[in-house]
């Protein structure tokens, strides 16, 4: 499949230049969205997919949301305050109606929180500190969290609110249980408070949304209908855009961007995502497949630095990423709280120094190791790993590159069967560096360090993360997190590469869209040409 989806379109630019004037077949107030994949379900709590949740955010809303600067702003809640270290009080917006006309009240918030935190809910992890909720009156709710947990607002941006009466009437108060084979009404029906309503849905073919005229917020969009069509082959999607059959695609293939830009009426919005791609090391006592015997060279910071210095990041950026990625020395993107500019500076590219470091560590002749990469998760991932493999070979190392789809590689990562691996982290949905610190950098203790695949451990880093998790003062907490990130950088625990590129393409019918670095489509902010 992969070779197919990566197929480029030679000659497309020429074709486009010869193209006949487009027949505008869409009505001016319709947005035809050619998506790179389908949403999994109409139920936002059904599958751990950021794409599904962000698309369903057009229909359902949370208590709070990100504004067009990626700052948290009120949505279904108008304000909130701390009652005690473990209780947040939310004042709800009055006069909001669900699409079926039912009023939005505190009961709906409680029902939704109960549903998402159900033991069977796959999205329970999105609300890690949740302890319970209590209705104070119809428009006030107290949410209990682990004491001093600082990130509840961030978490709540992704907890979309259902109507309680609707859930009860349709026997959908609990999430769908795949294990027990029980289907859910909410999988195929939707009833939110958001700017768009679902009109119809044919999985893998078409989902139609219609503007909600009763929306509580003043719309900035001028769309009447959104026709959402998944087109999984990028070449087909590009052709559909060029021939005027779609107006918007949120995943334009990098290799087609120059051609798209040359086509009349087509705009390309390229930027950098929040996702940082980096390499990680197995830190067990010995390596999985290496000629180093009982030793693990990666436990020596000099060796890790040698691998870092061997990477010619500029070449990688220019050739593999087509000049569209953002080179970084940081584990988090600039937009992620916790980032400080000092983090961004890379250790310089210096193959001679790298060789010297290897020699100092006692590996003058280099050594072999297995280098595990997926081939379908990050932008141009396989090419990145191939390029870096050859850069490492140039300093005398013998990496054995092993690429396969993520479903296969994840099993290897989780069982520690890799020597060097790849990971990308966007800090979604939290949009805070606490996410990468607790899930990746922290040692595997309790619920922390789920992605600590290589068994790295630094007592100081752990301690900084633990203190941050209980620090309510935002500035102090971010200072702790920055310090932890800085420590990881000094240790050369990971080899950061870049923030990966994202590219959206717009057809002639679209005047403007808002593209933020979380790479989510927000069509309630989209303006069409009329």
């Amino acid at each position: 499949m992969n070779s197919l989806t990566k197929l480029s379109l030679p000659g497309l630019g020429i074709m486009a230049a010869l193209m006949l004037p487009l027949a505008a077949s869409a009505t001016a107030d319709e947005l035809r969205w050619g998506a790179s994949r389908d949403i999994d379900s109409l139920d936002p709590y059904s599958y751990g997919s950021t794409f599904t949740i962000s698309t369903l955010n057009h229909v359902y809303e949370g208590l709070v949301r990100y504004d067009d600067q990626l700052k948290i702003e009120p949505a279904l809640a108008t304000s909130w305050d701390d009652i005690s270290p473990g209780v947040r009080r939310f004042h709800l917006r009055q006069g909001v109606k669900f699409h079926d006309g039912a009023p939005f009240t505190a009961d709906d918030v409680i029902a939704s929180l109960t549903r998402v935190s159900d033991p069977k809910s796959p999205l329970r992890g999105n609300l890690p500190a949740y302890q319970g909720a209590e209705k104070i009156d119809d428009y006030t709710v107290d949410i209990k969290v682990t004491e001093n947990y600082p990130l509840i607002l961030n978490d709540l941006t992704n907890i979309l609110i259902f109507d309680k009466e609707w859930l009860v009437a349709n026997n959908a108060t609990a999430p769908t249980d795949v294990g027990a084979g029980i289907e859910g009404y909410a999988t195929t029906h939707a009833n939110g408070t958001g700017p768009f309503k679902v009109v119809s849905r044919k999985p893998d073919a078409e989902t139609v949304f219609e503007a909600n005229k009763e929306w509580w917020d003043k719309p900035r969009h001028n769309i009447d209908r959104i026709v959402f069509t998944p087109i999984s082959s990028p070449a087909t999607a590009v052709a559909a855009l060029l021939s005027g059959q779609i107006d918007y695609m949120e995943r334009a293939p990098l290799q087609d961007i120059p051609r798209l830009k040359q086509s009349p009426g087509i705009q390309v919005l390229a930027g950098n995502e929040l996702r940082t791609v980096f390499f990680l090391f197995n830190r067990a006592d010995k390596l999985v497949a290496s000629d180093t015997g009982d030793k693990n060279p990666f436990n020596d910071a000099k060796v890790r630095e040698a691998l870092y210095r061997a990477i010619d990041i500029d070449l990688l950026q220019k050739k593999v990423m087509r000049g569209l990625s953002r080179n970084t020395g940081s584990m988090v993107a600039p937009a992620i709280p916790g980032y400080v500019p000092e983090l961004d500076e890379r250790i310089g590219h210096d193959p001679e120094k790298a060789k010297a470091l290897l020699a100092e560590a006692g590996y003058k002749e280099g050594f072999s190791f297995t280098f595990v990469c997926d081939n379908n998760v990050y932008v141009n991932e396989e090419e990145i790993c191939q390029a870096v493999s050859s850069m490492w070979s140039r300093i005398g190392l013998k990496p054995n590159l092993d690429t396969a789809p993520t479903s296969i590689q994840t099993v290897k990562f989780e069982s520690g069967k890799f020597d060097v691996g790849i990971l990308g982290w966007a800090n979604e949905p939290m949009i805070d560096s606490y996410s990468i610190l607790v899930q990746v950098a922290h040692s595997k203790t309790g619920t922390s360090g789920v992605f600590n695949w290589g068994g790295w451990k630094d007592a100081e880093v752990d301690q900084l993360i633990d203190s941050a998790s209980k620090e309510l003062d935002r500035e102090k907490r971010l200072a702790l997190q920055s310090k932890a990130l800085m420590k990881l950088k000094q240790n050369v625990d990971f080899l950061p590469l870049h923030q990966q590129p994202m590219a959206w393409a717009l057809g002639p019918n679209v005047k403007s869209v808002v593209q933020l670095s979380d790479n989510k489509s927000r069509h309630w902010l989209t303006v069409l040409n009329k």
Partner: protein, 330 residues
């Protein structure tokens, strides 16, 4: 006849159980669906709990037994990804695939057979050689390349046909068809053509080869000697005797195409079963993959049986042999 059908059904069940067993063995190497089902934020405990609820902590023999037990009750589970009943998911998409496959088969037969006959009776002529060359290209080029080329020409450059999708469909109960709407018909053209191209070439080459064989036989010579017109000789006497392998291969190919139209379906975003299967593999949606493989194997077995029965009908010799000692297919 009845004993043959019964034996066939017995075989079919055995084949399907074997397919399911192999499928479950392969599933062990596909990776871990839990990783995809949960969000990055999920804790290890949540991951383990889901794995247990899905029965993925069991070894594959246990998973297989559970699947068989449930399947015998007609329960194939619900999709990990779409959270919908697997059988209804497949049933929803089956009409799209069948429509695509049947239309492309009709195109293939109505173009492939006449061309094949022509290439045989005008053997050596420039046009026949050209046809043979094109048929060579037709069997060699992968259908997704054809698909992309068609899209570039008819969707991007000429803007005549839609690049993706199925257009508007008409519902008849649970069945859907795009044949009754203009947009449905125009959406069908390119996928059907790109799927048919291999078949056209293949049928043409098959017919040509068979015709050349038959044209050398004595009875054709006698027919000519009797002064029958060429048209009658070619189409009534010669072609009819070529059709057996064509019937077999077309039957087999329909099965093939239904099962493996997935590349074409992916290129054109055709909402059929192949598309569903590709998505299922990507998301390691085991219930969908298992049910799909069961259906496909059931279909193959059925088609094989039907082809055998058509054989009996087309070739009287087999009927007698079948009556005498119980016909057994290759």
């Amino acid at each position: 006849m009845i004993s043959m059908v019964l034996r066939r059904i017995g075989n079919a069940v055995a084949v399907m159980v074997a397919v399911a067993f192999v499928a479950f063995m392969i599933f062990q190497f596909l990776g871990d669906p839990v990783q995809l089902m949960l969000n990055e934020q999920a804790s290890q405990a949540e991951r383990d709990a889901l794995r247990i609820r899905l029965g993925l902590d069991q070894n594959f023999v246990m998973q297989f037994m559970l699947f068989i037990t449930r399947a015998l009750h007609g329960d194939f589970g619900i999709s990990y990804r779409n959270q919908q009943d697997v059988m209804s998911l497949i049933a929803e998409r089956f009409p799209a695939t069948l429509e695509l496959v049947l239309v492309s088969t009709i195109i293939a037969l109505s173009i492939g057979i006449p061309l094949g006959v022509y290439a045989a009776i005008r053997k050596g002529s420039p046009i026949a050689r050209l046809l043979t060359m094109f048929s060579m290209i037709g069997v060699s080029i992968p259908s997704f390349v054809i698909g992309i080329l068609l899209i570039l020409i008819f969707a991007v450059q000429l803007n005549w046909l839609p690049a993706f999708g199925r257009g508007d469909v008409v519902h008849f109960g649970s069945w859907t068809t795009g044949l009754l709407t203009p947009s449905g018909r125009s959406a069908l053209v390119m996928p059907a053509l790109s799927l048919a191209l291999f078949q056209i070439s293949f049928i043409m080459r098959l017919v040509t080869a068979e015709m050349l064989e038959v044209l050398r036989t004595d009875y054709v010579k006698f027919a000519r000697a009797r002064g029958l017109p060429n048209r009658l000789v070619h189409f009534r006497h010669a072609l009819r005797n070529c059709l057996m392998p064509v019937v077999t291969m077309t039957g087999m190919m329909i099965g093939d195409l239904i099962a493996f139209a997935l590349v074409t379906e992916t290129v054109f975003q055709w909402p059929g079963m192949g598309q569903l299967f590709v998505q299922a593999v990507m998301f390691i949606d085991m219930p969908v993959m298992a049910a799909y493989l069961m259906i496909v194997s059931a279909m193959f077995v059925t088609i094989n049986t039907i082809v055998d029965l058509i054989y009996l009908w087309v070739d009287p010799r087999l009927r007698q042999a079948g009556a005498a000692r119980g016909y057994h297919a290759h």
